[in-house]
């Protein structure tokens, strides 16, 4: 799962949100690292809706414009948790092992000897 997709799903974990709210929430959750562009968000929402991870929850008209809210499905929630688990296990490979002796670069003489 790519990072923007992960943060779009993570943004919806607390409840349904509309387009701009997803962008803001993903920005907050990633500490400003994932700044979704509008086009990227809707491409991701199309794909996630087709995969059954996200569903349209409500539609309302605000200031004459349609505003749709999207929510996480059970499948989406399971996929997000599985991805978080995978990343945690991958992180443990590094954090749980005590650092060994550090490798130093060989000098020109040592390499050619």
């Amino acid at each position: 799962m790519r990072e923007p997709t992960y943060f779009v799903l993570a943004a919806l974990l607390a409840g349904p949100l509309h387009g701009y709210a997803i962008i803001k929430r993903a920005d907050e959750l990633s500490n400003g690292r994932v700044r979704l562009a509008t086009g990227t968000l809707y491409t991701a929402l199309d794909r996630l809706t087709a995969e059954g991870y996200v569903a349209l929850v409500s539609e309302q008209v605000v200031s004459g414009r349609i505003r749709r809210s999207y929510g996480l499905t059970d499948e989406g929630s399971a996929a997000l948790r599985a991805e978080a688990q995978r990343m945690a296990e991958a992180a443990r490979l590094v954090t749980d092992v005590a650092p060994g002796p550090r490798t130093t670069r060989l000098g020109r003489k040592a390499r050619t000897a």
Partner: protein
């Protein structure tokens, strides 16, 4: 409507019309909220993401169809381009004899039969896009009859049998390929129009200014455009290869019939074969695999 909103709406053109109808207003609302206050145009990253997103949405349109259905639509477009150019040729003959009644046209029939054949071929192409099966059948049969009439009346003074038979074959193909549940995109009619205009436009413009490479340049632009579009949608490239093949095969057959030693030496056929191989390979990857 603010300047910002107007510019955002221009960017939405990257998306297919059906997508714009469904989600256009929602995307505009999000884009306006996401753009910092005081800006008169969207952020560069938003512009790029919308263009890329639009192209991806266009590419996704035909990925729900099978390879066979996509191939059928692509070949229909190729046949439509061939018939559109044939119609333009008939209409050009009619206009030429209308302007200079004493001069014989360079090739093909003249007078009212040419006008009738040209208009009926155009009607058959339009019906293939917009009409029902009965309308497609009726216009295609009428166009076929007009082409046969022109062919028979021209036979006495000598004409291209290969071109004549190819036009009839294309009219029959139009009936077989069109009128199915999967309809060709309306935007493709613009492509037919541009390609039909490509050889006519230079002749018209050159009455005012001399620009020797305009015709070849337009055709080259269309070719490059279709090949560059293969990554998004390989069907226009398959259509172009179909057209080039339809253009080349009658010439090759006529050369074969006259015993020409270099009858197979045809660059159009070679270009068509290369484009077709590349485009069909891409089309198989872009289509739904049937279980």
């Amino acid at each position: 409507m603010t300047k910002l909103e107007r510019r955002c709406r221009v960017l939405l053109v990257a998306y297919p019309a059906a997508y714009r109808r469904d989600r256009g207003e929602e995307i505009i609302a999000t884009l306006l909220e996401a753009t910092p206050e005081g800006r008169k145009r969207p952020l560069i990253r938003d512009i790029l993401a919308l263009v890329v997103g639009g192209l991806k949405a266009r590419a996704a349109q035909h990925r729900r169809l099978s390879t066979a259905a996509n191939l059928r639509l692509a070949m229909l477009l190729g046949v439509a381009i061939y018939l559109g150019l044939a119609a333009a040729g008939y209409l050009d003959d009619f206009v030429y004899t209308g302007i200079r009644p004493l001069a014989a046209p360079l090739f093909g029939p003249s007078g009212w039969p040419a006008l009738l054949a040209g208009l009926l071929l155009l009607a058959a192409v339009l019906a293939a896009w917009l009409g029902r099966r009965a309308a497609i059948m009726a216009t295609a049969l009428a166009a076929g009859a007009a082409v046969i009439y022109v062919g028979l009346s021209e036979a006495a003074v000598g004409f291209s049998l290969g071109r004549f038979l190819c036009q009839l074959l294309c009219v029959a193909a139009l009936i077989l390929l069109a009128g199915r549940p999967e309809r060709p995109a309306r935007a493709w009619l613009w492509l037919v129009g541009v390609i039909v205009a490509a050889p006519i436009l230079p002749g018209f413009i050159q009455r005012f200014i001399y620009w020797p490479y305009l015709g070849a340049g337009l055709v080259l632009c269309v070719l490059i455009g279709a090949v560059a579009w293969i990554g998004i949608d390989a069907r226009p490239a398959v259509a172009l290869a179909t057209y080039l093949m339809l253009f080349a095969v009658p010439v090759m057959l006529e050369n074969l019939a006259t015993g020409a030693s270099n009858w197979f030496d045809n660059p159009s056929a070679l270009v068509a074969a290369v484009i077709a191989a590349l485009a069909i390979w891409r089309l198989r990857r872009q289509s739904v695999r049937l279980q």
